[in-house]
Symmetry: D2
Subunit: 351 residues, 4 copies
């Protein structure tokens, strides 16, 4: 076990010039068992990391190179922060000896026709799909531990599924009547240039987007359906909020079998007892993105609705940490035998 | 009719040191038919307006005085921006000759026991309640025009009811299954000092608040129930968003009678044809608070849900304008025979 | 005089898809004497205005067209919100009958070699330069009134010169030792896509930019030198602040001739007596961008320094209004005989 | 040496309910050699930490108690995050065996009359003043290592002195003509309720404050004067910026002895070679608060001015970390023999 020998795991990051890649590097820099051995970012190849992310100029890291220049066989693990499509193309070429933690969307959907429909292209690495473990750590530890390829969930699915999976699985709520009103900070839209995420456009304002058409909807549906044992549609309506980080989902559920909101809270509390990163909000505190900012924590709360027979489940995470790079490190820790909290025990940054 | 004689209406503002009062003064300063004759704000009595609101230092306005110092009989109209409770106490003392546009919550709820339950005190001016017109302009013009006392709706009810009333009344949606996920900028919390609205607490973060317990819920229910012809509960879940102004409600509705989202859109478009301040978002545009900031406009959109038989209705306003001071001026215009758009035709401030 | 006949001035806007153009349209929509007759924006030709600026979807305006499609001879006035370079090329082709209010940088610098050095190209419309009036309204009214072409100042020069010109001209401060630490909201960077103005990059952060190399430096120096009667260099150091609108300059000056900060304040107060848009901050209030947001006002304050013989002069404006579109309308009003405040009397939007 | 034995240092935090205290706890929770043994916060005594700071609800920490309830003799070190005045009163009562890292202003000024003048009360623990080491780590290591009481600098002095002390000491700049235009995020104003730091007041706006009267001015002057060998006044003008964290100072200096901006840069680079937390911005990067957010780093840049004989020195820190709690931990590490970076090696959080 590497964590006992003290030998470091050689990691590479593909897509090092995106926010997801940057947050991975941020965490890797302080991880006791990682050595950053390669950083790939095709459009910025040849530059020092500090040119692309000045805030990482304090990290001791190799310069960015093109993906084809990396000697993958010298690495133990690769984190992939590329956009979908590109991700599968590169991952398919990596040597079997390298474990892969993919933060893209490419290996999340098990059904290739669903993938093709939502992502606009045929899946080109279907042979890897079956072995890919869905990386929602708290709900799939054994598979993750054993996997060579882990598909980390999308940020919205992470927040949503942590809140709902135990309730659906226990049939405490009606899986066919779930409404997820989601709110995300702007970093969720990535670093590529789009007018609607300019400061002057997104600042001091709030808007929904991709109503009934966001790619995280089929991912949520896949997992909810699996837990429910039946195919369901889920309402998923994301909103863009004028903050950089943070994600909060407000889930409106119909109670099943005469259960109450208190039953839901109790079920979640029991399910997550002992979990280092998932907690129910204490009495008097409402889940808020401020309370998990910059951390790998997820805070969940359950509330009775005014409409009889309904309840509200709220879940907050940092979209770039538990929603992406942090959960990727958590999965890495499982895969390589580290303490699950290694490198991601940082407390939230507030204010 | 005053607007033809050119004689100005003498107005007073009570509660001139709150945000609602300030926005009323901002609009009044440019209104062609208003003369600001008295500004009352007990805790700041004796100060010039510029001391309390430096941004209004360019306005030609009298200094703040205590309410008891105002000669009400010299005024034609009074806008009340006081907190509930205090509002009714003062309004009850005003001479009959003064028309009152109340922006507080005191005369919105028709049922005094509901008022007592939600506002924690018995109503002390019940004799004025019956004559008070509910000031949702587009839905109550005749009563407003004739009223001496107008109770302007809360900001959330304004955004919500403009979107839903026509749908409920036409039985296009099931009134008993309405979920309103609401988001507001921080100015909605007022100017009094509370820790959770400090910049460092509310900034870069998002949280729900008052889940299933917000005072705008019974107000929404009162109007929805009236339109539906049956008493209903409505889910109303507000969230605090890190922006100063703006309010957006995302309403999740169950379609009735085999209707579609397109039917809802058509019904709203028809209902608001010719309305100067309420518009459906054009194809390709999603309602966003940025697009109505600082203006009296409301922008509404209707979208099909992924869950069959459901739809999503989104409505955006500026909480301090259409949600408060602007609608108050709109009602004033009706009450005093001005063009309905007088003084509130300002376009949104973007970026 | 048009303002007495009631006939409207037919205006066109070139560069209607930028923030400057948008704010001009916002103001024009409520101006009593303007009729928006043409909107040109080459890259968006063919679209309705609402497609490019949804917040202006409430305005009755013609669709966007290419500049070459506009019948300029049918217009009375053209506002130009194009980038420098492109601006002069189009302005040079306009018929003599059209008055031009240019919000670009093309006609601000009188010295063509300075222009070439700072803007990277030879000036291509030098024949128009001499007749162009520098549009700092309060300091150049007669020339503006008589001009066919007005070159509105840059936003930073507007804030800086309103604060310093009277002091330099009266020799109250040493023109050769002026330090201008400037701070601007992000809208000053325009609407074109640049990584550093993405919400996630500019939000929750502060940075200087273009130190000792910003194009507004030579413009400030030109006017300060003219007032001083000697060529001077001025330190001008801008910073990008995480807000959409607003600009504040903190000017550090060395007192001349034994004068005091109080003398400076008195000189400014006297100079701007009766001015509708420029005011000294009252005692107890510090100039803040919040207090002028969305308005054409400029708020100035003068303070003694801890270093003997020095003073601090602070000036705040809205960069898009007094710093651009608002001052353009103010100049238009002078050129066409309207009340100087017509269409720009809106009070600041706070909060 | 504790760091070799592995025995943890028992720490207490006084003033645990302020932002400074909270950030200290955040860092302490992940420090390899700290055990949080006592948290004092008089107004919140009896509450769990999570009630006061929900984001710290994941930390294993004792509940808050009154200062008088703490058994100080059981502790090894105390961090004090109290306001000035209160701080000295409590610190004076602590047993000699406890080492004290004070984050308040009480032991920064060596001259008691200066203290009395600026802080409005006589110093009540003057016997501790002489032994108190000024905690600007990089410039006072030996004294800090040996001290029982360390007075951590103010946030503004930290950013300013790191940038200027080496330049003044080497007589590269004229100590009598230093202008420090400072900008801070709102957390610098603390957590107590004040109107100007409400989100709706401070958001989307920028203002100077405490011009020529901020308490950090005499602190900066004390240290600059010491380095210069002569008493000087320094211009220090702070501004409130709409962000939660971060601080940037733009220092305008007059070059001495024919030196150039490049000489200054070289002197700083040499001075800070090997320092883990202070770095010069690489070519092409301007110091920005985003690039140090949440970290203990300081980023400095030097630039030539347009005015001949002048230069500009810019320095950026996180006001709560290097400007307060982080530097306190850095000093703790020196005092107790830990690696200087222990517990504060976290990389900046961007975006």
């Amino acid at each position: 076990m590497p964590n006992t020998t003290g030998e470091k795991i050689k990691i590479g990051v593909i897509g090092a010039s995106g926010y997801t890649g940057a947050d991975l590097i941020r965490l890797a820099a302080c991880h006791p068992g990682m050595e950053i051995s390669a950083l790939a970012a095709n459009t910025h190849a040849g530059k020092p990391l500090a040119d692309v992310f000045p805030h990482l100029g304090f990290v001791d890291a190799p310069p960015l190179v093109k993906a084809e220049e990396v000697d993958w066989s010298s690495l133990d693990a690769v984190f992939c922060g590329l956009p979908h499509g590109t991700a599968q193309d590169i991952i398919a070429t990596l040597p079997e000896s390298v474990k892969v933690i993919d933060m893209s969307a490419d290996f999340r959907l098990k059904d290739t026709s669903t993938y093709a429909k939502w992502y606009g292209r045929e899946h080109a690495a279907t042979h890897l799909l079956e072995g890919a473990a869905y990386g929602l750590t708290e709900h799939n530890r054994e598979a993750i531990r054993a996997a060579r390829l882990v598909a980390c969930p999308g940020c919205y699915p992470t927040a949503t599924l942590l809140a709902l999976l135990p309730l659906v699985a226990a049939k405490l709520v009606d899986a066919s009547d779930i409404i997820v009103d989601a709110k995300s900070g702007v970093s969720g839209a990535g670093r590529s240039l789009k007018q609607n995420i300019l400061f002057s456009e997104a600042g001091e304002g709030l808007s929904p987007y991709a109503i009934a058409g966001h790619r995280h909807a089929p991912e949520i549906e896949q997992e909810i359906s699996k837990a429910a044992g039946a195919n369901v549609f889920v309402n998923f309506t994301p909103h863009l909020v004028p903050m950089s980080r943070g994600e909060l989902v407000t889930c409106y559920v119909r109670l099943a079998g005469g259960h109450t909101a208190a039953d839901l809270a109790a079920a979640l509390a029991e399910r997550y007892t002992g979990e280092p990163f998932v907690k129910l909000a204490p009495k008097g505190t409402l889940p808020s993105t401020q309370f998990v900012r910059g951390s790998n924590f997820c805070m969940i709360g359950v509330y009775a609705d005014r409409i009889p027979g309904r309840a509200i489940v709220v879940s907050a995470i940092d979209n770039l940490v538990k929603g992406s790079a942090g959960q990727a490190v958590q999965n890495f820790n499982l895969m390589f035998g580290f303490e699950e909290t290694a490198g991601i025990a940082q407390q939230p940054l507030f204010p």
